[in-house]
Symmetry: C2
Subunit: 244 residues, 2 copies
DNA sequence: ATCATGCAATTGGTTGGACCATTGATCCAA
DNA sequence: TTGGATCAATGGTCCAACCAATTGCATGAT
């Protein structure tokens, strides 16, 4: 016999209750990102809890990136918050830059392949046109600067994710992108990083335009493979330099 | 010209300093998950900060799932913690409808296929043995209750993600799992949900044990396909009932 | 001796009040 | 108009006490 499953009782959970109330308030007032929330002191007074409890609750929201606290100024909403929203922090154990970068790439490979495939099946003429324009902008930047421009490159990929018809892909890959670039502040000594990935952008676009889902997936996998190769090349160079 | 990039100044950041010190302590003492951390009062005394500040810092770690606080008992380490950890909040918007459930499944399909494939390439004998035990537990529960048990099923999949060698997969799929089940409290009228997925669990395990990455991926895709089919079946039934 | 009961210490959770540090607006003088 | 001084508002920190849950020990009955 299982365990009856009737422990829903929860005498007290002060700060959780505070966050619940605050989420309701935000929704009721239709607060947008950037708007200012009530003062900690006011919240404490209105909710009939200590200011300390309010602070612990806000600390949790701050940790989730939902809110930003500026001393002397106030507390401001940083992201949309609604009851039907899942907030969850991703943790990546650092210590080894190379391994962490490869892990984000493995996830990106999984997501990007699927997103490109879905895009090829679902995208409409408008989204396709936008993707083409982003591609041309990227190619132009590539030729004028003689190298990959991460900004235009990223916008091209984003346009694809948006056209996949599933907003989760864009959010998740954006998280991977951000994690990748946080480790990227010290370039790992790779020259012409991403150079090899250039031609695959156009081939991906062509497969999408041809509504060839599997072809687009294959090209996306090739693109990620070139990035992984660049990363491995840099790591090998670093190891060699360390031994010398 | 870009913006000079010189805002590194950071006069004080008490709770950050507390967490940094605590991370160093954990590493120095080689504390493992499950071990007990010093009392809040002791930390406050040793670090020469207020207990309140210690609490805010621990609240952040609790939000990241790194520690667990038990009133009357103490604060316990819940996950490995290293000084150079990267945290990134992930917020996903979802709705309680058929489309949202399908979107979580699309993401899960992408991630699960890749994770299973990586697992087949990387898993060691110990992890493989754990996966086998989880599989047997699940099969036992299936036969005794004549139906899928989501608890044992989930543990089986988790064992695979852990053996994939990339912790991001477990975290991301856990987010999808949570979103899916948050809206699953009212079964959408599907009887024997997940029943068809049962045989694929064993076939996935066998492909992993055989180090057949592509075969494992194929079986994982079949499994997800059965879940999608169940979902579509339920949606069709709902639409039919609505029209009647 | 063994087990149950209950007291007491430990520990996280909460409260209220005070003060510090930063910010932004207001006011005043050059 | 401009520049600086002042001051109120607001988040950050501190302190001391008490509440609530847990744990362990001691006492006592069996």
């Amino acid at each position: 016999m299982s365990q009856l499953r009737l422990p829903p009782i929860q005498t007290t959970a002060r700060d959780d209750a505070v966050l619940e109330a605050l989420a309701g308030f935000v929704q009721q007032e239709a607060l947008q990102p950037g708007d200012k929330l009530p003062t900690e002191r006011i919240l404490a007074e209105r909710l009939k809890v200590s200011r300390n409890t309010v602070r612990e609750a806000l600390t949790r929201w701050e940790g989730l990136g939902l809110v930003e606290r500026l001393q002397g100024s106030g507390t401001f909403l940083k992201a949309a918050v609604s009851p039907h929203m899942l907030h969850m922090p991703l943790t990546l154990a650092g210590g080894n830059d190379f391994a962490s970068l490869m892990q984000t790439l493995e996830v990106r490979r999984a997501l990007e392949a699927e997103a490109v495939s879905l895009c090829a099946m679902r995208t409409g003429p408008q989204e396709l046109d936008l993707i083409r324009r982003k591609l041309e902008t990227m190619e132009e930047a590539f030729h004028s600067r003689a190298g990959m421009s991460s900004e235009e490159d990223w916008e091209f990929h984003q346009a694809i994710y948006r056209a996949s018809g599933n907003p989760l892909f864009e959010q998740l890959i954006a998280a991977m992108h951000e994690m990748f670039h946080r480790f990227w502040e010290h370039p790992l000594g790779v020259r012409n990083f991403g150079h090899a990935s250039f031609p695959y952008h156009r081939s991906i676009y062509e497969r999408i335009a041809a509504r060839d889902a599997e072809g687009a997936r294959a090209e996306a996998l090739k693109l990620i493979a070139t990035v992984e190769a660049d990363l491995r090349r840099g790591e090998a160079a670093r190891n060699q330099a360390r031994q010398a």
